[in-house]
Subunit: 239 residues, 2 copies
């Protein structure tokens, strides 16, 4: 981004604008948390006066919108666009979108509770994503009245799955073989040992980072396919 | 809780212990955020010296464990216990547990990213919940190797659904009828208008608070039933 702005005759410093503000605000919120985020911290990080910042953003809530839009703009809707063009199936489009969505938010788990409750009306990239996804899903045969419940159910699962990517592999370890946790230990030893052995084989998609938690992939696949199958049933029930 | 501790011969002030520390720490973290939570703030809130606090908890991480355990102890496993006793079905036990789980965490959305990555080994109530749930699900016919993936997939969905309960009903409103959001507006008007009209009829379970977001119930039901059906398929495929 910076190199694009360094044109002849321009100063080497990137020009202050909503794009640059979004990127720097994102870094600041990830580092310090939203509670400690202030407009004056942001101005300092950008090397500008607070008054210059207010030429581009109205207030802290406006910056949260910019951060949301910056994150959502990273989610790929390529599969959804192919679905609109009849070049892929509903299930593959949902799978691609869901994997990209989870991968983006897995990088920013602390922001998920914020993004999950931020209205989208003033976030243009976010509006675009929802518009493409709703068009694709509706065009594929999901009744209009069901489209939002499908998308929101996927998102709920994707937000939670993005957090699970950041869980430590030891999250379900138990300290000893006490009776009180005998069943838990039995299934954890069976399934999560299996997941560890298989993790090298997992084909987790090109735009996905290496999973931090090797046990996050199998539950994600199970839940994702459950949601996809239920969604396909909505199409089938209409036909 | 306080009244139980006010027995004859005891001082009126509740006795300092891990239960009381957990409750007060939970209130403090919800009010101020985890970043600003300190042991000295907690001691002040409890009206004790910091040194007295350290007689019961080792450090901030230990307090986080207490908070986790306090929250998880509120999740009902009654349905799972009935399943173990062959008094209910797998699908009803999953439904009851999931509804209670979502309702508890919907009260504390800011803590979800923390709880989602906190190991459970030193949290006795949390260990108990997982042990009951794994016993019930495995006893109902889910293969040992699949139990954890089912539970984790449910939890990912439940964490996200708990956050959606706190989303404003206007989250998908669009400001105008611009072409860029035409599809989104169409499905939002169709489905979320419908959800609003039906929200009075929704039977959302006895232990669930009134939904803050009237549009959270339908996506939750869709995703929950999708996961339940996929789970029942695991039993069917083994038989």
């Amino acid at each position: 981004m910076e190199s694009q702005k360094r044109r002849a005759g321009r100063p080497p410093k990137p020009v202050l604008g909503r794009g640059l503000i979004a990127q720097q605000a994102l870094q600041l919120v990830v580092a310090d948390g939203l509670e400690r985020f202030t407009m004056s911290h942001l101005a300092k990080k950008l090397g500008v006066a607070v008054s210059a910042l207010y030429n581009h953003v109205a207030n802290k809530a406006d910056v949260v919108l910019l951060i949301q839009d910056e994150l959502v703009s990273q989610v790929s809707v390529d599969g959804m666009l192919r679905l609109v063009a009849h070049q892929t199936t509903l299930e593959d489009a949902l799978r691609d979108w869901a994997r990209s969505y989870r991968a983006v938010f897995a990088e920013y788990p602390s922001l998920i509770p914020l993004i999950a409750v931020t209205p989208i009306s003033d976030a243009p990239q976010t509006l675009r994503m929802y518009n493409v996804v709703t068009q694709a899903v509706a065009s594929a045969g999901i009744p209009d009245a069901d489209v939002m419940r499908v998308i929101i159910a996927f998102e709920s699962f994707l937000f939670g799955s993005a957090m699970d990517v950041n869980a430590p592999p030891t999250i379900f370890d138990t300290r000893d073989s006490a009776m009180e946790s005998a069943w838990l230990q039995r299934v954890v030893n069976t399934s999560m040992g299996g997941a560890a052995a298989e993790s090298d084989d997992a084909d987790s998609g090109a735009d996905e980072p290496a999973a931090k938690n090797p046990y996050a992939e199998e539950p994600f696949q199970f839940g994702l396919e459950a949601l996809i199958q239920a969604t396909l049933m909505l199409v089938a029930s209409r036909n």
